[in-house]
Amino acid sequence: MTDKPDAAALLEEARRALLDTLLPLLPPEHRYDGLMVANAMAIAAREAGQGDAVLREAAQRLAALLPEPGDTTNASWQARLPELETRLAREIRAGRCDAGIRREAVADYLRWSVVVRLRLSNPKALPNP
């Protein structure tokens, strides 16, 4: 039950109006402010269009890395994502991911998570495939 255009499409259109129509009218000292607003709208548009699948995948990947992950198949995985990340952070700090297969698996997850977040925050900075 959603009306069209959706949030991502609205933000993209509003950003186009800002950049094409309004930015040329801004005095030079406020040009940077205009560009920051456009950047914030671009990030928000990408995030609104991302969907849930990638966050669900993050929870599943984290659960696979952690001892006693609990149940991540039910609807509560969204609520559990910060908790799982907190636990991974503690495992890393305690030196329990320093070596072996565990190290490689955690490094894989971290690289994947950075790429996922970079796609939203700054796709231009993504590493070459």
Binding site: M36, P82, L88, A107, L110, S121, N122, P127
Partner: protein
């Protein structure tokens, strides 16, 4: 409380009387007062003064620097910064001459000092893009290396000789292993933030496992990078932003200067986005005789990205908490993944794996 010097005639009058007294002049006439775009930490004003009478009579182009209402906890106040500018000048570093410090809140509401206004541009993205600024780039890089070497010539032992009578007890001390000090500090900072940051923990754990005692402990600037020095069309005119100085490993300043996050997009020019590392290193080594250890610089480049990510998170937290609503601070929170990408890349690189 923010004082608007441009609008507040009474504040200008108090400032004028303070300057006249400090300079031993009969009268100080202020003109051309304008705000300068500074950082989030301090407020800067540009102004000119005409001193009548006294030994310093004449016209001066000045910058007034005062504490901003919201300060970053790790940064020094203006009185400390004034002392650091005097120290840097005594050590032969190119800095604006510090003139008068006022700690009396009755004048402008907060501590402030005045220094000479140096010509030039500091904006990093402009310096990196416009080759007409700063003169020949290899010469600029070499000169910056020399300047940094002069900063690092200040040690706990040489301090008293350089500026007798001035206390520098406010400088954060360092253990023999400054890398470990930083790991503990940044973990404390992360623990004060709401959300977990596994990639930064990964970086901190690597820094913990690979830390080594510093070759020596010197004064470190801690924000020596493109964006924090002034250049005109001929070359360097001043090293700025002394508010984060501490005791530490001199290699940490080299790593900060060369870190990818301070190349302003010119990632192939590894010395601050302006030149290759070679001229910067050459200028540094020639000026102080100390050898630059590439492994130590690599370590401190990892530490640089962790540090900037932690500061970015703190800045975003100031926005999120409502302490200082700002789109700029909010967007700063969104640069963290770029910094994390570089942390992972540096740790996975041959240098990182060999360390």
């Amino acid at each position: 409380m923010t004082i608007d010097l441009a609008a507040d005639a009474a504040a200008r009058e108090r400032l004028s009387r303070f300057i006249a007294r400090a300079a031993g002049a009969r009268r100080a006439a202020l003109s051309n007062i304008a705000p300068l775009r500074g950082g989030a930490i301090q407020e800067n004003w540009s102004l000119d003064i005409d001193l009548e009478g006294g030994a310093l009579a004449g016209r001066y182009a000045l910058v007034l620097r005062t504490d901003a209402p919201s300060r970053v906890a790790a940064s020094h106040g203006r009185a400390q910064e004034f002392a650091l500018l005097r120290l840097a000048r005594a050590a032969g570093v190119t800095v604006p001459e510090p003139l008068w410090l006022c700690g009396d809140p009755a004048v402008l509401g907060r501590a402030f000092y005045l220094m000479r206004r140096m010509p030039g541009v500091a904006a990093g993205h402009r310096i990196v893009k416009d080759p007409s600024l700063g003169g020949p780039r290899h010469a600029l890089a070499e000169r910056l290396g020399q300047e940094l070497a002069r900063i690092h010539a200040v040690t706990p032992q040489t301090l008293a000789r350089l500026l007798p009578g001035q206390s520098f007890d406010f400088l954060a001390p360092s253990s023999a292993n400054p890398g470990l000090d930083r790991v503990q500090l940044y973990r404390r900072y992360l623990d004060d933030l709401a959300d977990p940051h596994p990639v930064l923990e990964w970086g901190l754990r690597w820094l913990e496992l690979h830390s080594r005692p510093a070759g020596e402990i010197t004064l470190v600037h801690q924000d020596f990078r493109t964006g924090n020095y002034l250049v005109d069309e001929r070359g360097l005119t001043a090293i700025l932003d002394w508010e984060f100085c501490a005791w530490g490993d001199p290699m940490s300043d080299i790593g900060w200067f060369c870190a990818r996050c301070w190349r302003f997009g010119a990632v192939d020019r590894e010395a601050g986005g302006i030149a290759a590392r070679a001229p910067f290193y050459r200028g540094y080594e020639a000026a102080c005789g100390r050898r630059i250890d590439p492994a130590a610089v690599h370590y401190w480049e990892v530490a640089a990205h962790v540090r900037w990510a932690v500061i970015a998170l703190q800045q975003a937290a100031r926005h999120l908490s409502g302490a200082q609503r700002s789109l700029e601070l909010a967007l700063t929170g969104r640069i963290v993944p770029e910094l994390e990408l570089e942390i992972l890349r540096l740790i996975d690189s041959p240098e990182g794996r060999a360390a």
